[in-house]
Each structure stands twice: as structure tokens, then as C-alpha cells.
Symmetry: C2
């Protein structure tokens, strides 16, 4: 049997995070390993009302097959929300996907031949490595600084390689929490204007900015950018609704890829989410999420400040769900993981987010899905584990 499987299956393995999450299912363990929104933020009652409304009015229709692009009023709603934020897009430039994870799959289908070069941040979103990996590209990586990628390194890599896609999470990146500055976005757009490289801008966390000012997406500076969005962090991840924004030429191909992949995304849920969006004050709802996450992020930062050794570095994200820790050189976050589990606290070792095998001394902490008590206790325990690691060194 084994020789029957496609070559691409050698490139991907069961998610490392997934395996870690199994370890952390023990209720005794305080886990900062996951990447889940806080379920307290889910609008359960409002969703129930929306379901009743759409089923009562259009039951037959919303249970039927539908169009590949997705429900038009929902796409119009998304387009309008962008235009309020200064990005002008047409509903025809939007296609509904199964979360933004499927957007990666569709863009891979549309652009990647085996062996094509794709540039990712170092570190980058783990599930993107997996998803792109199925299409057997050659990964190149560019260092990520505090305000986005290292522009000189970026330019050099582009000069030396034919890069088909550059994949980036520009706001509150998973895993680092880093956000691209406006200047860096503009600079990247300027460079890419003259290159045969598509900017793939993944933005699942952009709505969850709880500090500082919104920055326009790269898409607003560079038309060929393919932009991803998602309802996972503002409504519900279990409903698996995201979208792709792309210009007409690219969208035409994406529609074909989507149709071949699964015909269309869950129509019932599209109608429910649309009804929810128009019947409720979404901005108020998002404000609640922000308030919650801001509090959790602030608490985590302050406990880290107090309980971690001074030469441990960490990011202070202005939004999103993750915070990134760098241990002093020579210390391994995998070793730390073993010590931490003994203290009943868990995180994701950072190595998995690097395509070049580096990052052994880094780790990701999720702050969105733990209440204050757990954050306080868990970070203290993690601090103990770090001190222990340093002593054993």
C-alpha cells in the first residue's frame, strides 16, 4: 500500500501542535498551547435567534445547494466593512471559504507547481507550512523583525530567487504577535510592484486590535495582493467561515479551484452568520472581545515581567491571541516543555514554526483562552520551570 501514496504526503505530518494538545488535555494542566478564541466571546443566543429567523423565512432555500462564490449579501457585507476601513473592494472580488485555512489550500492550487519557491516569515504560521507543503513547493524564509520582515533580506531573496508567493500574517502574527508597520507595508508593496511575486496576506486577527491604531492592509497598496479574512475570531471558529479577497483575474481561478474542492462552503451557516451580522451590533461585540483579550494580555505581560528571568525576551502584541517568548541562547524550549509539564503548565515550543530548523529557544503562549486566575498561576509555574532550566544548564 505504502508505495501508492502520493509524494506530497512525505512532506506533511500530523500537526505537532495537535499532538501537544493531546498531552495538554489533562484538566490539571494549565495550557497556553492552544490557539483557541475564548468561548465566552461566542454570541450563542444571537446565533440561535439568527437560525430561527432564516429557517422560518427561507428554510427550503438555505438547506439547498448554492453558489461557489458564497452568499452575495454576505460578500457585500464584507466588502462594505472593508470600505469603511479604507479598502475599496467589490463583492465579486470576495469568495467565501471554510475558514482562512482553506484559503491557503485554494491559493496553493491556483499558483503552486511542484518545486515553485514560496517565501514565508521566519517563524510563520504552522498550519500554513502544512497546507502549502502538500503542494511540494521549496520553502524560503525571511527573518521577522519587530515591525515586519527584514526588508534587506527580503529584497536579496527576491533578487536571488524566483519567488511565486510571499505568505505573511501582517497583524498580530501567529506565532509571534508581531504587526507590520505602515512603512514596511508600503515598502513591501513598492518592491513587489515590479516583481512576479504574489503577496498572500493572511489577516485572521486584524479585527482584534486592542491597542494602538489600525493599519491598512498591504492589499490597499498592491492590487495583486490576495487577502484572507475570517469570522473565526469574531463570531465562531467552529462554523469555519473565512474569505479570500482577490482581483478579478485571480478570483476567476480561485472560483474554479473552490468548485473542484468542495463546490461551495456551508450555505446554511453563511445565511445564519449573515443574519447574525445584520441583526446585531458587531462592533460592540468585537469591543467586548477586545476588552477581554486586552485584560488577559496585560495580565500575562505583567506576570511575565515579575516572574520570568530578566534575560528572557518576549513580544508585547497590540492585538490577536499570542505572545512570543525567546529564551537566552543555549536554552531549549523543548527541554523547557518537559519541565513545564511537570509543573502542569504547557505551551508550544517554537521550533515547529520555523521552516529552516532554527528557533530552538523560542516558544508561543496563547492568552485568549485562559482566565485571569489561570494566567497568573500558569505563568508563575512557567517562570519556575525557566529558572529550573537555567539552573540545570
Amino acid at each position: 500500500m505504502d508505495n501508492l501514496f502520493a509524494d506530497r504526503m512525505n512532506n506533511v505530518h500530523k500537526s505537532f501542535i495537535r499532538e501537544i494538545l493531546k498531552v495538554t488535555e489533562d484538566p490539571e494542566i494549565i495550557s497556553f498551547a492552544g490557539g483557541l478564541p475564548n468561548p465566552k466571546s461566542f454570541p450563542v443566543e444571537e446565533i440561535e435567534k439568527a437560525v430561527s429567523k432564516v429557517l422560518a423565512r427561507n428554510g427550503d432555500e438555505i438547506l439547498q445547494y448554492s453558489t461557489t462564490e458564497g452568499y452575495l449579501p454576505l460578500r457585500e457585507y464584507i466588502a462594505e466593512r472593508y470600505s469603511k476601513k479604507g479598502l475599496s473592494v467589490d463583492a465579486d472580488e470576495i469568495l467565501i471559504t471554510n475558514g482562512s485555512q482553506q484559503a491557503i489550500d485554494l491559493v496553493s492550487k491556483v499558483f503552486l507547481n511542484k518545486g515553485d519557491k514560496i517565501l514565508v516569515e521566519n517563524p510563520t504560521y504552522l498550519a500554513a507550512i502544512q497546507s502549502f507543503g502538500l503542494f511540494e513547493p521549496e520553502f524560503k524564509s525571511v527573518p521577522l523583525l519587530e515591525d515586519g520582515v527584514d526588508i534587506n533580506a527580503f529584497q536579496r531573496i527576491l533578487d536571488e530567487n524566483e519567488i511565486k508567493l510571499f505568505y505573511s500574517v501582517t497583524n498580530f502574527q501567529n506565532p509571534t504577535g508581531i504587526t507590520y508597520s505602515k512603512e514596511k507595508r508600503q515598502k513591501l508593496a513598492e518592491i513587489l510592484k515590479d516583481e512576479n511575486t504574489v503577496f498572500v496576506e493572511d489577516n485572521p486577527y486584524g479585527e482584534i486590535r486592542f491597542m494602538g491604531e489600525d493599519i491598512p492592509p498591504v492589499k490597499s497598496y498592491l492590487d495583486t495582493t490576495v487577502l484572507f479574512g475570517s469570522f473565526s475570531k469574531i463570531v465562531s471558529p467552529g462554523m469555519r467561515l473565512g474569505w479570500i479577497v482577490a482581483n478579478e483575474e485571480i478570483m476567476e481561478k480561485i472560483i474554479i479551484a473552490k468548485q473542484a474542492s468542495d463546490l461551495h462552503s456551508n450555505y446554511f451557516t453563511q445565511r445564519v452568520v449573515y443574519q447574525y451580522l445584520i441583526d446585531n451590533n458587531v462592533d460592540e461585540h468585537i469591543e467586548k472581545i477586545k476588552k477581554m483579550y486586552r485584560g488577559q494580555r496585560n495580565l500575562m505581560v505583567s506576570i511575565i515581567e515579575e516572574y520570568f528571568p530578566e534575560d528572557v525576551k518576549y513580544t508585547k502584541p497590540e492585538g490577536g491571541m499570542f505572545l512570543w517568548v525567546t529564551l537566552p541562547e543555549g536554552l531549549s524550549s523543548m527541554d523547557l516543555f518537559d519541565l513545564a509539564i511537570k509543573e502542569n503548565v504547557a505551551f508550544v515550543p517554537g521550533k515547529a514554526f520555523f521552516t529552516d530548523g532554527s528557533g530552538y529557544n523560542t516558544l508561543r503562549l496563547n492568552f485568549s483562552n485562559s482566565d485571569e486566575e489561570k494566567i497568573e498561576e500558569g505563568i508563575k509555574r512557567l517562570g519556575n520551570a525557566i529558572y529550573e532550566l537555567m539552573e540545570n544548564k
Copy 2:
């Protein structure tokens, strides 16, 4: 830009059916072109009750991210339903997909290298050609007889080619309505036992047998068979819930491919459909669908008998949603389409379902989504168009 797209995009085009469906949106046109279940069969009220129940009890949980394999009780339900019908499978051998269309995508990912040979029926399901096509295989086709593929031709093709996958819709095939006999299923299993070829058994219509006796799936004779199922025809297609049954070795790879593709299928809907299934008598519901489709199929057959020229051949399916018409040699169903549209009746010309360019004189008629009045009037009009086509010849 154009040179940036992947080679695979040259293999697939916007669905021909999709374009035809646009033509037939005119409410004056009686359309047998679509492939939709009858919306009268959707359990709208029961779904609403199920939603209220699961949201009230487990709101936070069902809106959260979930496992790649799908909701375990739902997979157990599916396994149990199979075992009642004589196929013993474990819930771990089942993964929930976005309709069975995504099952094709996942199986392609797991098995197909570019240039690998895949064998399909001639004619075969159009969207399968599209979905497999994205993985750039070489298509081989085998003639479809009244009781399944031509076994001699099948054996010869296997002798002369390394076939990675054989894809087949074994019950009430789309487009022909043809069902494999028990003998043919056993014979295929026997042949494939000694071959390095995976049988991909797509069975979206199996539950809708409105005449004759159930026949066990090929999966029950051949363990390496990968079997697809779907809730689209018995609950709701808009909810996009299907599944894959595969043995442990294959399932391990399918889980990896699913995770990379979209993490997991809509969890909210999985919970809703599960609740619907356990709170209602599903067999009674399916019985209603069967009764409806049997009546529509019988009427269509009887009107054809009366109003079509005698040398027009057609299938008499024992289930499913389609009936297949073969015009006398020399007559083109594309020409017929133009005449039919003038008579305000539509169908799908059969050519698109053939991978070898044949089938110019065939056409597909859908009977599930038209009421009796429309079937009677529409088939009469189509009969007129056929007579006109013959006279103009």
C-alpha cells in the same frame, strides 16, 4: 500575471453545467439540467429544533474549533448505520468532509502524483473529472454497461496500465442512473485484490433506492476500498456534510490531508445534523423522499415512453436522481439543446461526462427537482424538440 498560475489550472475550467444552469435560470424554462434534491424533502422544522437544542445545551462548545476527524458520536452513528446494512466499520475509519466532493479532493491529495493514471467510468460524474483534474492525472476510461463497467475492458486496461485509482459511482450513477450488480461488484473486488489499484467508491445516492433490493458496497468485499457517503441527499446539501470510510492505513493519510485543507468541517452543523438524526426517525424521512422521487421517476419514464421517438434509448434507474437518454447515432444533444431552449426546456448534454470526447448523442435528465406538472409538460416539449431535430437532420 498569467504565467504565474499553476499548470493544473489549465486542466480545469468553469463547470459546463454551471454555465448551463445560468441559461436555465429563466423562470419560463422547465429545467431538468440541475442536480438538486427536491427542497420539499428538507426537514426544516426538525433542523430548527435540533439547532435550538444543541445551542441551548452546548452553545460555547459547538461554536469552537474541533477535531479534524469530525464529531465522534456522528461518526459512530454513521458506522452503526453501515453495520445495520451489513458493512462493519469502526468510527475511527470515518472522517467527516464537506460533502463528498471534498472527499474526491482529499483522496486525490493522498494518492495522486502528477501523471498518475486514474480510471473512470465512461461517462462519469462531471465534478469528479474537475476535482481529480486539479491533480494532473492521466485519465483512462472504461465503458459503462447496464450492470456496471465492462469487466473485460476493465481487466485489459489494468493489464496494460498502472492504474492508481478506479473511481466509480456504484449506485444510481450520476449521470446515467446505472447501478452495479452484486456479481459485478464481487468480480471487481476479486480482480482488484491482486492489483495495486485503490477502488474509490462514491455513494451519494445509495440511500435513495426506491425500487429493487439494496446491494452491499464494494467496500464490503474489498477492505482497501475508499468509500464516500453524504447527508446531501437525505438531510441537506447546503450543509455540506459528507464522509470518507477508509482503513486505518489510508485514514491516517486522509486525516493529514484534511487538516492541511481546512482543519475540520463545520462543527456547528455536525452537531446540528447529529441531533437531528438521533431525535427523528430518519428512515421514515428517507421513505418520504423515496416515495416522492419514485413518483417523479415513474412519471418521467411514462411520458418519455409516450412522447419520445421509439429509437431513443433511456435508462430506468431504481433510485437516485437522474435518467440518461441516448439519441440515435448521428444526432447531437448539443443541437438538441438549442432546439429545447426554444421550447423552454433544458437538460445537460452528455458530452461533458465523458473523458474521451465521446457521448455527443447523450443527455442527462434530472427528475428529483421537478413536480409532476413540470415533468409532464417538460418531457412533452423535449419530445417535440427531438422530433424536430430528427426532421432537420
